[in-house]
Assembly symmetry: C2
Homo-oligomer: 507 residues x 2
C-alpha cells in the first residue's frame, strides 16, 4: 500500500513514492540488520564514535532539506525544527563521547583470589550489545525521537543495528533522515542494515516479532505500547520494550513565589505549556497555584497571554481530535474555562490554546488525565498542607516542578520534594519541565505510566537499554576484549572492587 503524507497546516493529503513495508520486506531488513552487527562490532568503540560523528555531520549538511520536509509534514515551525535538528546532531556527538570515555561498558575485573569458599576464579565482566533493535518513531519529534533520534544514536553506539518504524505523521522526513544516516554508513564502507526504516502499522508489529530483533524502544502512547507488547508476547522469547508514555507533569507554585514573581512565572508557564503546540511529553498539564491574591494575579496574567495567542497547528488529525475531545471532557468534569481565543478553524489541524481552572477539592481523576496539546489546568489550593494528598492522586509523571520564594515554608518544599521523588523521574526547582537537557546526568523516565521500566530515554545512560552483561571466567589474555585486559587503562574500570578512572584517554 502506498504511503501518504499530510500537511497539518492545511490538512491536505499528498501521495509519496514510499510503500508500506510488507512482512517479507520486514524480514529481509531484519536479516540485514542481524548481519550488520558484526560490522558495528568490528568498528570498535573508536570506529563507532567516528560513525556517530559522521552521522551528526551528515544531518547538519542536509539541514535545509530536512527542516523544510519536516515543516511540511508536522507543522512545527522552522525555528523549533532547526533547534531539534541541532539536538539530534548533539545526541550523536554525545554518544561518540560516551564511546570514547568507555565507562558505559561497566568493565570490571576480579583477579583470581582465595575466598572463604575456596579458590575464586578470575572473572571479568563488561556490557555487550543486545543485537538488532526496533525503534518506534514519535510523531512530535521528527528528528530527536525518530529515525535519527536518541534511541537510534544510543543503539548504534551500543553496537546494535537499528530498524526504525517511521511515524505516519512524517514519512518523508523519516526517509530523508534514514538517507542521511545511511550515507554516513556508506562513507565508512558499511553494509546495508546498520540503519533502516520501515513503514506502516503492520510493519511495526511484524518488526518486533522478528527473531533477530532483541529489544524495542517507543516514545508514544500507552495504547501504542500495549499493541507493541501484544505483538512481542507472540514471540517464543520475550524481549524488553522500553516505552516512554507521556505524563501530566504537575507544577506547584508556592504562595511567596506567586506573590513575589508571579508575572515571570506566568511567562514561563505559558511558554512551557504552549511550546511546540503543547505537544511535548514534558508539558506541564497541571499547575497548582495558591487561591490568594498572588495566585489570582498569576491566573490573570496567564488568561491575558492565552486570550492573545493565535491558533496552533497540531501534528495530525488524531491528535487534533483527541485535543478537542479532551478539552471538552475536562470541562464536563468540572474544570472552568479561563481562556481560549477564537481562531480560524479552517486552517488544517489548528486549535486554540486552552486554560482551565479547578478548585482543589474538585480535582478528580478525570481532570488529572493527560491532554496532549496546548492546554493547562490550573488547580487552586487554599493551603500548602493540602498539596501532599492532592499530588498523591495525580498519576506518576516524568517530572514534578516546584516554585518557591524566600518566604515559603521550607518544610513544605521538602515534603513536595519527597512526593515528587516517589512519583516522578525528575524534580525541577524554580523552572519548567520542558526543554530536556541532553547530558550525562539527565534522566527522562519515571514510574508507570510515565515509562514501563527503570530506564531513561534521554541522556548518556540511555545506552544501557541496548546492552547486556557478559562474563569471562579464567579466559586467556588473548581471548579477552581489549577493554578487559590487565594492561588496558584507557577507560574507567572496577578492578578487584576498586574504581579506577580511565587514564591516557583515547582521543
Amino acid at each position: 500500500m502506498k504511503v501518504t503524507t499530510t500537511d497539518p497546516r492545511d490538512g491536505r493529503q499528498h501521495p509519496t513514492d514510499l510503500t508500506e513495508t510488507d512482512e517479507a520486506g520486514v524480514a529481509t531488513i531484519a536479516g540485514q540488520a542481524f548481519r550488520a552487527a558484526q560490522w558495528l562490532s568490528d568498528l570498535g568503540r573508536t570506529g563507532r564514535a567516528q560513525l556517530l560523528d559522521a552521522v551528526a555531520g551528515s544531518l547538519e549538511s542536509r539541514r535545509a532539506d530536512l527542516v523544510a520536509t519536516a515543516e511540511a509534514e508536522t507543522g512545527l515551525g522552522q525555528a523549533r525544527l532547526d533547534s531539534e535538528l541541532t539536538r539530534a546532531a548533539i545526541q550523536f556527538r554525545m554518544f561518540a563521547a560516551v564511546l570514547r570515555d568507555g565507562g558505559y561498558l561497566e568493565a570490571a575485573i576480579d583477579h583470581a583470589a582465595d575466598t572463604p569458599l575456596g579458590p575464586g576464579p578470575d572473572v571479568r565482566r563488561m556490557l555487550v550489545p543486545l543485537g538488532p533493535v526496533a525503534v518506534f518513531g514519535a510523531s512530535n519529534f521528527p528528528f530527536a525521537f525518530s529515525v535519527a533520534g536518541g534511541d537510534t544514536a544510543s543503539a548504534l553506539a551500543a553496537g546494535c543495528p537499528t530498524v526504525v518504524k517511521a511515524h505516519p505523521s512524517h514519512p518523508l522526513t523519516s526517509r530523508a533522515s534514514a538517507d542521511a544516516v545511511e550515507s554516513a554508513v556508506r562513507d565508512l564502507d558499511g553494509p546495508d542494515g546498520v540503519l533502516a526504516a520501515v513503514y506502516g502499522e503492520q510493519a511495526g508489529r511484524s518488526l518486533v516479532r522478528q527473531p533477530t530483533i532483541r529489544a524495542a524502544a517507543l516514545t508514544g502512547s500507552i495504547g501504542a505500547a500495549r499493541a507493541i507488547q501484544a505483538a512481542i508476547d507472540e514471540r517464543a522469547d520475550p524481549i524488553p520494550l522500553y516505552a516512554e508514555l507521556g505524563s501530566v507533569n504537575p507544577i506547584v507554585v508556592l504562595p511567596d513565589a506567586a506573590a513575589s514573581r508571579g508575572d515571570q512565572i506566568a511567562d514561563g508557564l505559558f511558554a512551557s505549556f504552549t511550546a511546540s503546540g503543547g505537544q511535548l511529553c514534558t508539558k506541564p498539564g497541571l499547575a497548582f497555584l495558591p487561591a490568594d491574591p498572588g495566585g489570582d494575579r498569576l491566573v490573570d496574567a496567564l488568561r491575558g497571554k492565552v486570550a492573545a495567542a493565535g491558533g496552533m497547528v497540531l501534528l495530525n488529525q488524531r491528535i487534533r481530535d483527541a485535543y478537542e475531545s479532551g478539552a471538552n471532557a475536562l470541562e464536563k468534569a468540572g474544570a472552568r474555562l479561563v481562556a481560549q481565543p477564537r481562531i480560524d478553524a479552517d486552517a488544517g489541524f489548528t486549535v486554540a490554546p486552552t486554560l482551565l481552572e479547578v478548585d482543589l477539592p474538585g480535582l478528580t481523576t478525570e481532570i488529572t488525565d493527560e491532554c496532549f496539546g496546548p492546554l493547562m489546568v490550573v488547580v487552586r489550593y487554599r493551603d500548602v498542607t493540602e498539596l501532599d494528598a492532592a499530588l498523591a492522586t495525580v498519576p506518576p509523571s516524568l517530572t514534578g516542578s516546584i516554585h518557591s520564594g524566600p518566604e515559603d515554608d521550607t518544610v513544605a518544599v521538602r515534603r513536595l520534594v519527597d512526593v515528587f521523588a516517589a512519583r516522578s523521574g525528575r524534580i525541577v526547582f524554580d523552572g519548567y519541565p520542558t526543554g530536556v537537557r541532553v547530558s550525562w546526568a539527565q534522566h527522562h523516565g519515571g514510574p508507570w505510566p510515565s515509562t514501563n521500566a527503570v530506564h531513561t530515554s534521554v541522556g548518556a545512560t540511555s545506552i544501557r537499554r541496548f546492552l547486556r552483561p557478559l562474563a569471562w571466567q579464567n579466559a586467556p589474555e588473548w581471548m579477552l576484549p581489549a577493554e578487559l585486559r590487565d594492561e588496558y587503562t584507557a577507560i574507567p574500570r572496577r578492578v578487584d572492587g576498586r574504581w579506577l578512572p580511565g587514564i591516557d584517554r583515547q582521543p
Copy 2:
C-alpha cells in the same frame, strides 16, 4: 491452611505451626513493607551497611540450627549447606561493601553550562530505591537464593523492604532465616516489614498484585515465571519481574584437551554435574566430547565414576518425578544409557545419577531440554567444525564452557567463544560452570530462556534491579542528597562527564 514440611531423605511429611498467608495477611505485610522503606532510607548507606553486616553475623550465629533445619527439609548434605550459609553471609557482607563504596548509585553531576541549544540547567542524577520488592525463594538454595539470599541482600542494600515467598520445600528454614534477619533489624530498632516471609502459592500471586510492591525476583522454572507474570499482568501498573530460569550449560571439550587431560576433565565433569544432586542452575547438562580415542577414554572414565556412585536425594517429589520422566524422555529421544547405578529406591526422593550419550547428528531439541538433577548427556562430535552449528541449536544458557589443549585449533576456540558470547552470560575457560563466584565482576544471567531480561542475579551489580534513576534540576544545595552535593567526594561520581574515583572513602 497449615503448612507442612517433607524430609526428602525418607519422604515423610510433617506438620508445622506455620499457616499459609491469606490475602489479608499478605496485604498487611505489604503495608508494613511500604512503611519500613522510610527507615531503610533514613539509615543511609552507612547504616544499611551496618544492618547487612549484622544480618551476616546473625546468620552465622545460628549456623548449627539453620543447617540442621535445612538438612531435614532439603536433603542437601551438611557440608554443602554449611558452605551455602557461608555464601549467604558473604553476600550480605559484599553488599555492605557495595554500599560503602557508593559507586552503585551512579551519581552524576552536570553543572549548569551553555550549550548549542541555549543555557543548560544544573542536572544531577543518582539511583534511588524502587520500593518494596517481592522475592520468590528457590528450592535448591535454601539460604543463598531464598529468604536470606542474594536477592534479599541486594534489595535491602538498595533500600527496598523485601517480602519473600517461602519455597514449599523448606518452610521451616525460611522461617528460621527470616527470624535471623528480623533479629538483626530489631537490634537496630527497626520496624516490622523490613523483611518478611509469606507462605503458600496463593500468597505469592497475591504478593505481586499488591500496589506497594514495585518489583519481583525469581529463581525458578519458566512455568513459575509465567504464573507470576500472569499475576503481575493483572495490575494496573506493570512491575519488572527479574527471573532466572535455568539452563542446559553446554560444555565443549576439544580433542587435545580430551587427549592430554581427559582423566582430570572426567573428575571435573562428574563433580560438576552431580554436585548437590545436579540441582544447580549452572549444572552442565550437555558435554560435547570428541568421537576419538581421547573422547572414548574420557567417556569410559565418566562411566566408571557414575557406575560407582550412590543414590542422590533430590529436593522434593516434583523434582524427583521430573528427573525420572526427563531421563526416560531423553532415552526415548535416542540418547543411549551409558551408566546409571542401581540404588535403593525406597529412600525418600533418592535417584541414581545418569550418564547418557548421543552422536552429534542425533542431537535434537528433545535432547537439549534441561533435565534438573544428576544427569548429563555426552554429545560425540567428529570434527570441531561441526560444533558451531550444533551449539546454535542448543537453547541460550547461563554459561558456556570450553576446554582446550595446546594442540587445539585456536581458530576453533575463538569461534566457540563467539557462539557462547551470543548465547550465554558467562564463558568459562578450562573449568566448570558450577560454583559461581560471588564478586564485583560476576554475571549470572543470559539470553532467554536463561533469564527474562538484561540483569544479573549474582554479584555486586545485581543491586541495579531494585533501583531507578532520579534527576534533580537546579536544586538548591540543601535539597540534594548528600551524595549529589558538590563537596561530597567519598564516592565515585561522574562530574561534567568525567569519572572521578571516590576519595576519602568512608570506613
